[in-house]
Symmetry: C2
Subunit: 506 residues, 2 copies
Amino acid sequence: MDTKSKIEKLRALDREFRYLNKAIGVLQWDQETYLPESGVEERSEQLALLEGIAHEKQVDPQVAQLLNDLGSSSDNPQGDPKLDPLEQDYLRVLRRNYDKAVKLPVDFVSDAARAAGLSQAAWVKARQDNDFSVFLPHLSKMIDFARRRAAYWGYEKNPYDGLLDSFEPEMGTDAISAVFGPLGDRLSSLLQKIAARPRPDSSFLDRDFDTSTQAAFSREIMGKLGFDFGRGRVDVSAHPFSTTLGSHDVRITTRYLGRQVQSGIFSTIHELGHAFYELDLNPALGLTSLAEGASMGIHESQSRLWENVIGRSRPFWDYLYPSLVSHFPDHLKGISCETFYRAVNLAEPSFIRVEADEVSYSLHIIVRFQLERDLFQGSLRAEDLGQAWKDKMKQYLGIVPETDAQGVLQDIHWSMGAFGYFPSYALGNLYGLQFWAKMQEDLPKVQTLIGEGNFSPIRSWLRDHIAVHGARLPPQELLKSLTGQELSAEPFLSYIESKYSELYGL
Amino acid sequence: MDTKSKIEKLRALDREFRYLNKAIGVLQWDQETYLPESGVEERSEQLALLEGIAHEKQVDPQVAQLLNDLGSSSDNPQGDPKLDPLEQDYLRVLRRNYDKAVKLPVDFVSDAARAAGLSQAAWVKARQDNDFSVFLPHLSKMIDFARRRAAYWGYEKNPYDGLLDSFEPEMGTDAISAVFGPLGDRLSSLLQKIAARPRPDSSFLDRDFDTSTQAAFSREIMGKLGFDFGRGRVDVSAHPFSTTLGSHDVRITTRYLGRQVQSGIFSTIHELGHAFYELDLNPALGLTSLAEGASMGIHESQSRLWENVIGRSRPFWDYLYPSLVSHFPDHLKGISCETFYRAVNLAEPSFIRVEADEVSYSLHIIVRFQLERDLFQGSLRAEDLGQAWKDKMKQYLGIVPETDAQGVLQDIHWSMGAFGYFPSYALGNLYGLQFWAKMQEDLPKVQTLIGEGNFSPIRSWLRDHIAVHGARLPPQELLKSLTGQELSAEPFLSYIESKYSELYGL
């Protein structure tokens, strides 16, 4: 076989692996949206089997043989230097994925998938009933699986480093601590200054908003922002998420609270940001492992940028508010756009991460990061997580949730075994504002565009500078090549301090 | 390995095969209900891959080895006579499935699955646009796949025999012709007598009925008939179907026309009949290949029994009509239950099979059976199907559809390659009334039960006499052991002639 045929063969094997992963995605999406309650147990078995088969595809000895033949090794993942750059990037990504996957026994992968299915179902019930004890045995299992996963992968100092690396390559515990430390201090200090100022009125948000009208408005926003419903959908689930089930089938979910109309709106825009990234990946990357986001942090940079920097901006609501009023004329009678804008940007400590404002959001992440770090360093036990949660909330946000449903049970991530994911959200805030600063050089009138509802130049810029690369560039390299900078909290902090100084007259 | 362990091992392999099939089912269900338009092509690839993997599981050499070790061969499928009866039945079913599957090359299975996905999408479009030419190339491919499938399986006289056998074991072209001949004659003659009588008023059905109110009423019917929404769902698709995605996850789809409220009602009850059969399979059959319906004909006996014998009966509407009126008070103002009952039992030639009355329904099936038979005998070409359809409709129903959408394009079956399926519907009518006659011996007050909305004795009887056996008994054996009779059209014809003599005063 010549080089070209070898690469083609690799691509064909990779495509099969990815088709299986998409099938798994369909089953998971269904589980979160439409699966009847009693179907959960067999669904877990179905998923466990598929995960096992997908894993076997990924570690097919043919893959190793082809990678080796093409000069790719763990030390020289990109292979033969005579290959063209796209092919070298492809080999690098495949080698990294293969090296990680081959270390995990197939039974381990199946067992973990089966346990995750049951664990998620237990979490849903535990959160509903505010009963941590229902979830604890599952949580302990998920921690144990994560620990073993990290051990299979190997790590330098802390199993947590191994877990972090799988979501954000080359970002270990120490690197994240170094960024999160000063970030936490500046945000805490800003939050305190805000607390000393008068609280904007937001009482008009605390009313019953019909959820089907909310859903109609969300679909309208999606359309206005440019979502093509021929290439995706929106549904409702307990925990909003986005999932890519095909390069032309990217789905988001959201949730509508009976009160607090802004919750569903910002969930929708957040997930839409993820969806745009996936929908706008360069088709030239093919249906291969290059057609993925660069990392979870980069993914979150897109979602949080759309949700916050765009979606919580004044020009965005100048544009959209009349339409919201037309959906809820009675609720918003006499409420000016400026009043609404200030209400949805109200900053104050609160319990639920996904409902948090831009100032306190990253503090929620720092709480979770520290808890995860302590769990995997062994200084914190699963059964003590509920109390540790309360202590950290007190320390960083100054408030203590009364119930576990408002505390340790609020997020889906741990129930799925996704330890090490949370830091991506705060990293996303930082990457996002670094990208945004760069975008403003190219699109100096971006605020005007937003005010006119003309989002396509923004989406095109993000596509041409970020999505175009898919997984070709590791996150730090993407950041460096696009902005000329290393990871920095400065652009984010400067944005947030300026926005909130104006809002609260600091 | 001892005998017990060998059977356990077979069961474990079988479960994996079935989990894969359920995963395939989820992807297919999603394709019919929620898949975005542009996602169809990759979905076909995903399905093709999964079908290939499932097929490989089914023909795993371990299965053959274990079957052989347990004394099962093609000539002695049930294996060692010292095995207990349940185990013998299990081996017989597995051997039949294995023998059929092993004859099909894995590439053939994948290719056929991929083509079926694209073909279904083309059919949807062709039907929408009333353009047979869009569908024809796909139809030709599906016919070719079916022909090759029959050739792989082998057949005595006609490839069509092989196809029929996969839906209804041991019912070949000749056996079906022998039953359908007199059935067609008696029904045609009944239809002619009816045509000479005054037509009942049904104009009040030809109004706009809000589809979300229809959906709410359908859910209410499902609840009243005893459907447990914790073990299933109802959704909307272009063509109603039921699918089993787990032993506690049985889903139906239906469709609501803007006019003709009865259409969605009877589709729902029909699919519900399928769902009850699947939900009520004996749990002792385990998650194995015994936990299936006995055949498609037996399956249709359940759905058509619920839809027609129960759902189109006078006591059923005595019970349910007030509730329908409360959903549509304006539409049904001044319409008595008797008038409604007569309108939904109106018999006359019409174009669409799924909307057909009980008298003409089987004639639609006879048309399709003859077209399929001629196609596979080689006396009819795919491109001539549209015209042949019109000719047969003229011959059996005396009417000719003006468009292909109302003719050859109306059914999904051929687009999926399911040639040989249609006869099951008419066989289901016959089996159903044979079962019903037997049930009336055990439940002489069945009409009273229906009138009281007390359906659980009926469902229990069907469960204890039919669903309990799953696939343990082949259809003819099930029929014989339960009713003491061979297949006969007599109970059905006597039911239909008596019902319609009363309705039309013949």
